[in-house]
Amino acid sequence: MELNGEQLIAAPIPEVWKGLNDIDVLAKSIPGCEEISRIAPEEIHAKVMFKIGPVRARFAGKLLLSDIVPDQSCSMAFEGSGGAAGFAKGKSRVELKPSEGGTLVCYTTEASIGGKLGQIGGRLISASAKKIADDFFQRFAAELGGEILPLEGSPVKE
C-alpha cells in the first residue's frame, strides 16, 4: 500500500522539524497514541490504538529514523504488531520545503499490512491510512499553534 501526500502547515520549518522530533508533540498528534518513548536518538517505541469502523486494534510499534538532515528530511522504517489483529511494516520519507504561509510537509509511505487486518480490514486500507495521516497532521498543526492551510488547487471541502 502506498500513501503519498502533502500538507501545508502555518509554521516555520525549524518549528515543524522540532515538532516532528518532539516525543511529547508526537504523543498528542498520533491518533490513539497511548505510550511513546525515545529508546535511542534514532529509535522510538510507541503503543497506538487504531480505531477504524468496528476495528479497535492496539499496535505496539517501532520507528527507526535514518538519513536525517535537520530542517529538511528524514527516512523512517516502521514495524508494528497488532497481536491477533495483524501486523504492519513499511518505510516512509518526510521532506520539509519552504512554502508561502509556512512549511510544506511532503511524505511518501510504502506499507504492507498483514494478518487479519490485511485480509478483512483491507477493503478500505488506503482510505483508512489516508484518514489517519490527515488526522495526524490536523493534531500536529494544532500542537504547533499553527493550522492546516488548503493547498492551492485542492478542492475546497463544503
Binding site: 468496528p54 491477533a84 483508512s128
Partner: protein
C-alpha cells in the same frame, strides 16, 4: 477463531445504558444486532472488556408515524423495515434497498441504527438517510440532541456520535404522492459490499423532476450527494441530452476513492452509469 473474554450486561433503561457506557469508557462496546460487532470480536479485531446489550431499550424500538414525520427506532431490524406497511407507504426507498443488505439471516438481527452508527461507506442506510433528509436523535451524558444526516456522516467510519453517545432513532419527513424513487446497487455477488450505489428520490411531473436528491454510496469515504447534477436537471424536461449532461456533471463533481477491488476511475464511471439508469427509471 474465538472472541477474547468479555463481560456482558443488559440494561433495562436508556439512562442505565448511558451510565454504564460512561463508566466503562473506551473499553465497552454497545451491542444491538451484533452482525458487525460479533464478526469483529470473533476475529479479535477488537477486544472490549464489556458488551452493553441495548436491545431492551424501548425508546429505540418501533416505527411510528407522527404527523408528517416517520420515526424509525435505532433497534428496528432490516427485516422489520422490509415488512413495515408504514415504510412501504411513506419511505418506499428503504423497502427497495433492504434486499441488497447482506442475506436474510443477517437482516433478521442487523439494525437500522447499527448501520447508521458505523457509517460504512458501502452501507445502504447512511445513503438513504441523506437522500430522505433524516434527522438523527442522539442521547449522551448531556441529554438529547438532533443532528441532520447531512452533518452526521463526517469522514470514513466517522459520525457525530461520541464514544459515550447512543443513537436512539431517526426522523424522516414523510413523502407525498408525487415522489418517485430509485435505489441502485452494484455488487459482485448478491449480498456483497456495494461496488457503487445510488439512493435517489425526486418529485415528478411528467418527464420533469424537481427536488432531486441523489446520494451515491461506496464511491467515497462517506455517502455523497451530487448537488450539481441535481441542480442541472431540476425543473427541466429530461431528454437524452440532459441525461447525458447530468452524467458528465456527476462524474466531474463526485470525488471517488478506490477500494480493494475497484479503482477510483471505475467508481467514477459507475457514478454515471447508475445516474443514467436511475433517471430513465424515474421518468418512465
Amino acid at each position: 477463531m474465538k472472541a477474547a473474554a468479555f463481560d456482558y450486561v443488559k440494561p433495562e433503561s436508556l439512562t442505565e445504558a448511558l451510565g454504564l457506557l460512561a463508566e466503562a469508557g473506551e473499553d465497552a462496546r454497545l451491542i444491538a444486532g451484533g452482525q458487525t460487532l460479533l464478526a469483529t470480536l470473533n476475529m479479535r479485531l477488537s477486544e472490549p472488556s464489556i458488551l452493553i446489550d441495548i436491545t431492551n431499550l424501548s425508546e429505540l424500538k418501533g416505527i411510528k408515524l407522527d404527523g408528517k414525520c416517520l420515526r424509525i427506532g435505532a433497534l428496528v431490524t432490516h427485516t422489520e423495515i422490509e415488512d413495515s406497511d408504514l415504510i412501504a407507504k411513506h419511505a418506499p426507498l428503504l423497502k427497495a434497498a433492504v434486499p441488497h443488505i447482506a442475506h436474510r439471516a443477517i437482516r433478521n438481527l442487523g439494525t437500522w441504527g447499527g448501520s447508521l452508527a458505523y457509517g460504512d461507506p458501502a452501507a445502504e442506510w447512511p445513503a438513504c438517510s441523506l437522500t430522505l433528509d433524516a434527522t438523527m436523535i442522539i442521547h449522551g451524558p448531556s441529554g438529547e440532541r438532533k443532528v441532520a444526516a447531512k452533518d452526521f456522516f463526517i469522514d470514513l467510519y466517522t459520525t457525530s456520535l461520541a464514544s459515550d453517545d447512543i443513537l436512539v432513532a431517526t426522523e424522516i419527513p414523510v413523502s407525498d404522492g408525487a415522489q418517485v424513487f430509485c435505489f441502485q446497487e452494484l455488487a459482485r455477488r448478491h449480498g456483497d459490499y456495494a461496488v457503487a450505489g445510488l439512493a435517489a428520490v425526486a418529485q415528478k411531473q411528467g418527464d420533469v423532476l424537481t427536488q432531486c436528491k441523489f446520494t451515491f454510496f461506496s464511491v467515497g469515504a462517506t455517502p455523497v450527494m451530487a448537488f450539481k447534477a441535481q441542480a442541472l436537471i431540476d425543473g427541466k424536461k429530461l431528454n437524452e441530452q440532459l441525461i447525458s449532461d447530468a452524467v458528465k456533471v456527476a462524474r466531474a463533481e463526485i470525488e471517488t476513492i478506490a477500494d480493494l477491488t475497484n479503482s477510483a476511475e471505475a467508481k467514477q464511471h459507475l457514478v454515471g452509469v447508475l445516474l443514467e439508469r436511475a433517471l430513465k427509471q424515474m421518468i418512465a
